[in-house]
Each structure stands twice: as structure tokens, then as C-alpha cells.
Amino acid sequence: MSLSRADIENIARLARLELTEAEIPVYVDSLSKIFAFVGELDRAPTSGIAPMAHPLPGLAQRLRADEVSEPNRRDTYQQNAPQVEAGLYLVPKVIE
């Protein structure tokens, strides 16, 4: 399987990654190789086989009561934020 430059640009856009001009040919080459490699899976006979969603068969996902269990630690968490003001996370203007 061979991917084009346009494919890589599209995937990068979907993944929200800006690539440099130098990176694009590297990923055209390596992702083409990766998809050729994973193409081996086509050989596996999987008709009637259910997709495996959990590594421990038979275990049900636990649920808990919908109750507040964590204290509000906004100020602590916002110490890691790149830009905050008055307890709000700042981003570029979204609505003109």
C-alpha cells in the first residue's frame, strides 16, 4: 500500500498535527511501509470471529453511583495551564 503526500496531509489535519515540509516525505514513506506491513492481517481467516474489545473475557465494566466524589481543585490544576485568567482557560477568540 502506498500513500501520497495528499493522504499524509489529510491524516495530519485529522490528527491535528502541523507537519514541517521536511517531515512530510518521511511520513509518506514510513506510513506506506506500516500499512503494507499491517496488510498481512488480510490473510487471517476471521469470518464469524467477534472483535475483541476487552482483554479479560467475561468481565463487566463496573459502574458507580452518580455522586460528586472529587473536591474542586481548579486552582491547583490551573497551575499547569499555559494561559488562565480569573479561573478561566484562555484560547484564541472562537466567535467573532
Binding site: A15, E18, I34, V38, M52, P92, V94
Partner: protein, 486 residues
């Protein structure tokens, strides 16, 4: 106190007997870390002051008769585990300045057991790598030969334990990231069953595969440390509600009558012949211990690498969507708009291998490709899992090599992702099936360590540790220390 080169078990005894205090022990290890850091680069952050304060508290607890069996024993954590008030980078520029506001459950458990944290260990960026060359903080070097890789992604953990600059370290394993570096550095590694340890506060890579574990000198040390880091956790709904045994009480049990399966597909053409000989030698030791050996086949196992390189990237592309440059992590300078903020922050903050996997995962989950790649891989995963279940009908444990070759030179495989991915050909199967796995040292090839892999049924850690311990009573491979660090 001179160079401590002991096991956790021996250090715990020394502390209990008053041969040294935790402060003395901690200081000795901090000196060893500082001396080895230029050659190995095993640490991202060394927490000397906090370590000495925790050690002093451990000594005070002991003086009051409140010491447990691990009180005052120094360890270090892979930098994928969140540690409250301490920088947690996951080996990435994205989190280079992230100070975690909370402890991972595994970290809290080991802290509660009285261990002293020496610092945070280097790793492949977001645990994506098999050589520890993808770290933003530079490659880690193998203490047996510093031109060689230590394996990855828990390369810092493995190198640090091998060089005896820490007595033991936490690690994580998504496709072999505990077992492969343990093999390449000549130390003991255990990846428990999926769900045995909470993933809370362990920065997510591929959530259906990720599991916390340990890199230690011996199986006995792993048994001592595994208890406090295991158990169900309300903060991780995939952690399993199941009692945690005392892994140390059964270590000496007889192996008489145990059936070991040699997985035919593990002894394939990719396995280095001298590596294979070391594995065969180890199996004869187990035969002398009374085990029966038989060959079994897992015919779908050769598909585990392509399966993994669909499933793991798919999960990581979802998990790493949280790094948006808004709430934490790297943010680009002067973003033009919100999309530009996302794309440039991520493009600048993630390294080359992480971007490769994010794009692979995005593609296999995208419209029109989901069935062909992702669902197909999840079906093959079911086949691989069924192969293991079948093998465990006639065997108690499965044995094979951990990696196809010993450590390779830094740079040798870095530009060829497929060759790099094939390092994990023998380890990935256990992750896909959620099974526990170990690697234990079983000899050397040209001065570089070789690891024997043990895979067991779900929740068979007791039996695996027992088998590994009995082997380590008969051999001393796990006690060998690289000459430069002896």
C-alpha cells in the same frame, strides 16, 4: 557506606537489623545515581531533597516500631507515573514542565508501603519505542555497553536497576516495554495481568493494553513490591476486583509436575541462534527442577505485531487527543486561531515516533478504513487470545525468548520503524490477550544479557514468580553486575 549492590530483600533485612538507616541508604544511592547519570542518562528528574526527607520519616517510623517490610527502601518511578508536586514528563517535550497535582495509585501504594522515591526515570516518549531513543530528554545507555540501547520503553528503569543505581523501579508494558528492556539489561521484569494494577495516574498510551509492573534484580524483589501496587481502584474501572495474594509466601514452592509449554512460534527464523541456546540452557534447569516440557503451537501469534500496530496506534490517537495546548502541556507561540493552536502545539510538542503513531491511529479509525483495519485487528486479536487459551489447556506456563536478539547499537534501527517494531514480536501477544508476562536473565551473548520470557494464564503471577524464583536459586545470572558499575 560503600556501593550498595543488593536486592530489595537484602536491603529490607539490613534496615530491619539496623545495619544502616534509610537516610544512609538513600544518600548512598543518590551518590551512585549522580555518578552514573552522565554515562547512562537513566533519570529525567532526581528528587534528592524529597528522598532524604522521606527517608528520615521512614527512620522515625522505624524508631517508633511502625515499620513495614519495605519501610525505608529506596526505589524510582518511570516518568509515566504521576507524582504529586514532582515534574512528570512522560519523556516528552509536551509535558516537559508538567508538575502533577496528584499521585498515581501505583505510586501512592508504594509510598504507603514505606518506599522512598529517588526520582523519575527516563523512557521512550509516551512509552512509544523499543530502544529508549525517542525520549525528548535523550537516549538512555545500556550499562553493559554504553554504545548499546537499553531497550524500551522502560529503558531508564531497566538501565538503573542493571547498574544498581536504584534497588528497584516501576515500569509499564503496552507491547513489551517492561520485558524487552529487562532482557536487554539483564534484570527481572514483570508485567502483571491486565487490570491487576490501577492505571489511574499512569499516563495513557493504549488503554486496553497498558499495565503497570516492575523491574527488579530478582523475582523475590518483584514479589515484595507487587502486592502494594496491586488491587482494585475506584478510580480505574478496568482494575479488577480480586484479592491480592502475598506473592512472597509461595516463592519457594516445588515446581515438581509443572508443565511448561515451549511456543513453537517463539522459536522462529528471526531468533538469533546463540540467543536461542541460552533459552534452551535455561529450560534444562527447569527440567532439573522437576517440570515437564512440551511443545505447543499458537498459530496466529506471528500476526501479533501487525495487530498491535493497528490497535495500539488507534487507542493512542484517541488518548493523546487530550494534549490540545489549552489546559496543560506545551502551547505554541502566538496562535492565529483555535485550530492553529491545536495543530502547532501538537506538531511542536510531540516527537517523530509519537506523531507517526498518532497518524497511523487516526487513519485506521477514519471513515472508510475502520472495518478494514481496526475491526479486522480486533478480530485477529480474538484469534491470538484463543490460541493462548488453548495452549493453557495443556500447559501451566509458556516459555520462550523475550527478544529476538540481545541489545543493538544506539542508532542502528532508529530510522526503520518496521525493524524496530519487530523487537517486540515475542512480547506483544501477552498484551493483546491481557496475560501476565515476565523476563528473567538467563545468560549472555558476547557480553550482553539474554532474557527468558515466561507467560502465564490470567492472574497466575504467583506461579510465575514461584518459577522465576526457583530458577534464580539455581542460577546467578540475575546477580551479575556490569563491570563499570560493580
Amino acid at each position: 557506606m560503600s556501593a550498595p549492590a543488593a536486592t530489595v530483600a537484602a536491603l529490607a533485612k539490613g534496615l530491619a537489623a539496623g545495619e544502616y538507616s534509610s537516610v544512609e541508604l538513600t544518600r548512598a544511592y543518590l551518590e551512585r545515581i549522580a555518578a552514573a547519570q552522565p554515562a547512562l542518562n537513566a533519570f529525567v528528574t532526581i528528587t534528592s531533597e524529597a528522598a532524604l526527607a522521606t527517608a528520615a520519616a521512614a527512620d522515625a517510623a522505624r524508631a517508633k516500631g511502625q515499620a513495614g517490610r519495605l519501610t525505608g527502601v529506596p526505589i524510582a518511578h518511570k516518568d509515566i507515573f504521576c507524582t504529586e508536586g514532582v515534574r512528570t514528563t512522560c519523556g516528552s517535550k509536551m509535558l516537559a514542565n508538567f508538575v502533577s497535582p496528584y499521585d498515581a495509585t501505583v505510586v501512592a501504594g508504594l509510598r504507603g508501603a514505606g518506599t522512598v522515591m529517588l526520582g523519575k526515570l527516563n523512557m521512550d516518549e509516551f512509552a512509544m519505542g523499543s530502544s529508549n531513543e525517542t525520549s525528548f530528554f535523550g537516549a538512555v545507555h545500556n550499562p553493559w555497553d554504553t554504545k548499546m540501547v537499553p531497550g524500551g520503553s522502560s529503558g531508564g528503569s531497566a538501565a538503573a536497576v542493571a547498574a544498581r543505581i536504584v534497588p528497584a523501579a516501576t515500569a509499564t508494558d503496552t507491547g513489551g516495554s517492561i520485558r524487552q528492556p529487562a532482557a536487554l539489561c539483564g534484570v527481572t521484569g514483570i508485567k502483571p495481568t491486565y487490570g491487576r494494577c490501577s492505571r489511574y495516574g499512569m499516563i495513557a498510551f493504549a488503554s486496553s493494553l497498558d499495565q503497570a509492573g516492575l523491574i527488579t534484580v530478582s523475582a523475590e524483589d518483584a514479589a515484595l513490591l507487587l502486592g502494594p501496587m496491586s488491587g482494585s481502584d475506584p478510580r480505574d474501572s478496568t482494575s479488577v476486583e480480586r484479592a491480592v495474594p502475598d506473592y512472597t509466601t509461595t516463592l519457594g514452592d516445588s515446581l515438581e509436575g509443572l508443565t511448561i509449554g515451549l511456543v513453537k512460534e517463539f522459536f522462529d527464523k528471526g531468533l538469533d541462534a546463540t540467543n536461542e541456546q541460552r533459552i534452551r540452557d535455561a529450560i534444562t534447569v527447569f527440567e532439573k527442577l522437576g517440570t515437564r516440557v512440551r511443545e505447543v503451537s499458537c498459530p496466529n501469534l506471528p500476526l501479533s505485531v501487525p495487530t498491535y500496530y493497528v490497535v495500539a496506534p488507534a487507542e493512542c490517537s484517541s488518548n493523546l487527543a487530550r494534549f490540545d495546548g489549552v489546559r496543560f502541556g506545551h502551547r505554541c507561540k502566538s496562535p492565529k486561531n483555535l485550530l492553529d493552536l491545536y495543530c502547532r502545539s501538537r506538531g511542536e510538542g510531540f516527537g517523530a515516533e509519537v506523531k507517526r503513531r498518532l497518524m497511523t491511529g487516526t487513519y485506521v479509525l477514519s471513515a472508510g478504513y475502520y472495518d478494514a483495519y481496526y475491526l479486522k485487528a480486533q478480530r485477529v486479536r480474538q484469534l491470538i487470545s484463543a490460541d493462548f487459551a488453548q495452549a493453557f489447556q495443556s500447559c501451566d506456563l509458556l516459555f520462550g525468548p523475550t527478544s529476538p536478539t540481545p541489545a543493538f547499537p544506539i542508532g542502528a534501527k532508529f530510522d526503520d520503524p518496521i525493524t524496530m517494531y519487530l523487537n517486540d514480536i515475542y512480547t506483544i501477544g501477552a498484551n493483546l490477550a491481557g496475560l501476565p508476562g515476565m523476563s528473567i536473565p538467563c545468560g549472555f551473548v558476547d557480553g550482553l544479557p539474554v532474557g527468558l520470557q515466561i507467560v502465564g494464564p490470567h492472574f497466575s503471577e504467583v506461579r510465575m514468580l514461584n518459577a522465576a524464583h526457583r530458577y534464580q536459586q539455581e542460577t546467578d545470572w540475575h546477580l551479575r553486575v556490569p563491570a563499570a558499575f560493580a
